[in-house]
């Protein structure tokens, strides 16, 4: 009888782990590829149905999130202005304006918006798809000739990818107005300096940066949450587990992606804030 040595069992473990990672990566990529491919499949009836579903998903993901995004942006804008005011005092009003624009527009607005979308819509996506798996609804769709990637994944990907940029613009606007109001309340005489600082911090490159960041973040949230939702097996107990994993992984992916784009931006273009 042969006995496993520590080296062979370690190799076995490593091999199994590698196979698992490759399998997950394949299915993850498959989720996105099938959704993209199915979206261009023929069928006018299917197109109309999916368009209507996408609009409904966009409404749920963006319009219904406006109050929460508005409240968070108000607090972020106000606290950031108050903190820079406390740090710099009356002689640093211009810097306070610059800090608000740079931090909110480039970092906080896309990231916080993506986090709210992941927490709000991402959980809903993963839970809904997971329940559909458990209740054989996905088999039901396929039996009726309805492509699950087109009917389930594509509208959700579209919704998160479109909603994060829209909500980021809204977040930025509310946070800047809130910062403006806070600066006025602290000292109405320094408001002009604050505004000059805010304008100086803006760069034409902010627009493509925000576009790349928000579109990528939205796609990541939709993609990962759809993947984990559809990864549920046949047990209802898996649904909350996968939903929580979907949100945690989305948050991690969003933070990592945001950092990567920021580093790339400063590496390529240097500091644009004068």
């Amino acid at each position: 009888m042969s006995r496993a040595t520590p080296t062979s069992s370690l190799l076995e473990h490593l091999g199994a782990r590698t196979l698992h990672v490759v399998d997950v990566a394949q299915r993850l990529v498959g989720t996105l590829v099938f959704a993209l491919r199915s979206s261009s499949a023929p069928g006018l009836g299917a197109k109309a149905v999916v368009r209507e579903l996408s609009v409904r998903q966009i409404f749920f993901t963006s319009a219904q999130a406006l109050p929460m995004i508005g409240a968070v942006a108000t607090f972020v804008g106000a606290t950031l202005t108050a903190q820079t005011e406390l740090l710099g005092g009356p002689f640093q009003r211009e810097t306070a304006g610059k800090v608000l624009v740079a931090v909110v527009l480039r970092e906080l607005a896309p990231l916080v918006t993506a986090i709210i979308v992941a927490g709000r819509s991402g959980t809903a996506i993963a839970t809904e798809l997971g329940m559909m798996r458990v209740n054989s609804e996905i088999l039901g769709l396929a039996s009726l000739g309805i492509d699950p990637p087109r009917f389930l994944i594509w509208p959700r990907l579209v919704a998160t990818t479109i909603s994060v940029p829209i909500l980021t613009i809204y977040f930025s606007a509310v946070a800047i107005v809130s910062g403006n109001v806070t600066a006025f309340l602290i000292d109405s005489h320094g408001l002009e300096e604050w505004r000059v600082g805010a304008m100086l911090a803006l760069s034409p490159l902010d627009l493509p940066l925000m576009g790349i960041k928000t579109l990528g973040l939205g796609l990541l949230v939709g993609w990962l949450c759809c993947y984990y939702g559809l990864d549920v097996g046949s047990s209802p107990t898996e649904v909350p587990q996968k939903a929580s994993r979907a949100v945690v992984q989305s948050l991690f992916a969003c933070i990592a992606y945001n950092a990567l784009i920021t580093v790339l931006y400063y590496w390529l273009f240097g500091a644009t804030v004068t």
Partner: protein, 253 residues
């Protein structure tokens, strides 16, 4: 390979050396089986023998681990669900546990596939509504339930809604998982009448999973027993008992 009729007929459902299992349990071990187009058959077996899995594999809803499945002459592995419909393979599948869309009302459950394939089926919006009502009436889903979510329907109503949905796109391949399980008299009657008409329709290939030989004797269709992952011809009475007939009240439109 077990064949039901002469080989000259068009193939309906073909399984070729199909293997399928969950974990270490092998439910289908190299099953090869063929059902000609327009014919009917039943898969028999004890609970847990893999009848439902056999039906799902035969309908192409789950892919076998090994082997191939064909509907008509089309290998299902490379066909997406909508492509199947575009190639004229219209499936009707009644699931054991409903498989209904939980967030859609009864009417939308039935009309969804019609809207999705509106161009392929050549239906106007009005025709879709008409067809939806037609199949809901046929399956005896009462009008007061049309706007009701499946969760608020009784088991019998859900089963009848499942039948209506499966009939919506005028299927030429019909799969019915456990038509007799836990049904009230009315629902069982609807299920039997519909099965009887589908069996009589030469354009429909019908496959049923059941553990009741009584049903297949009534329908007078051949049965195949699934045991230990293998399929064998079941010993059942070949004709319906004398004096038994289905009431011809419901006609599938």
């Amino acid at each position: 390979m077990i064949q039901i009729e002469e080989a000259q007929q068009e193939p309906g459902v073909t399984l070729d050396r199909v293997h399928f299992g969950f974990g270490t349990t092998d439910l289908l071990s190299g099953v090869s089986w063929e059902l000609n187009q327009g014919e009917s058959a039943a898969i028999l077996g004890a609970s847990g023998s893999g009848k439902s899995t056999f039906l799902l594999v035969a309908a192409g809803l789950i892919a076998p681990v090994q082997g191939s499945v064909l509907l008509g002459a089309h290998p299902l592995r490379r066909l997406s669900p909508s492509e199947r419909v575009r190639r004229g393979l219209r499936l009707g599948f009644v699931f054991q546990d409903g498989g209904l869309f939980a967030n859609m009302d009864a009417f939308s459950n039935v009309s969804l596939p019609l809207y999705y394939h509106q161009d392929v089926l050549g239906l106007s919006d009005e025709a879709i509504k008409e067809r939806t009502r037609e199949v809901l009436d046929l399956a005896q889903v009462e009008e007061r339930h049309f706007q009701t979510l499946p969760a608020h329907l009784s088991f019998g109503d859900r089963k009848r809604l499942g039948i209506a949905r499966a009939l919506s796109i005028r299927p030429n391949y019909f799969f019915f998982d456990d038509p007799d399980i836990g049904l009230d008299h009315r629902t069982a009657n609807v299920a039997h009448q519909i099965l009887s008409q589908l069996k009589a329709d030469p354009t429909v290939t019908l496959l049923i999973a059941t553990n009741r030989t009584k049903l297949i004797v009534r329908l007078n269709i051949p049965g195949f027993e699934l045991h230990d992952g293998r399929l064998t011809t079941a010993q059942t009475q070949s004709h319906a008992p004398s004096g038994w007939s289905l009431p011809p009240r419901l006609i599938i439109p």
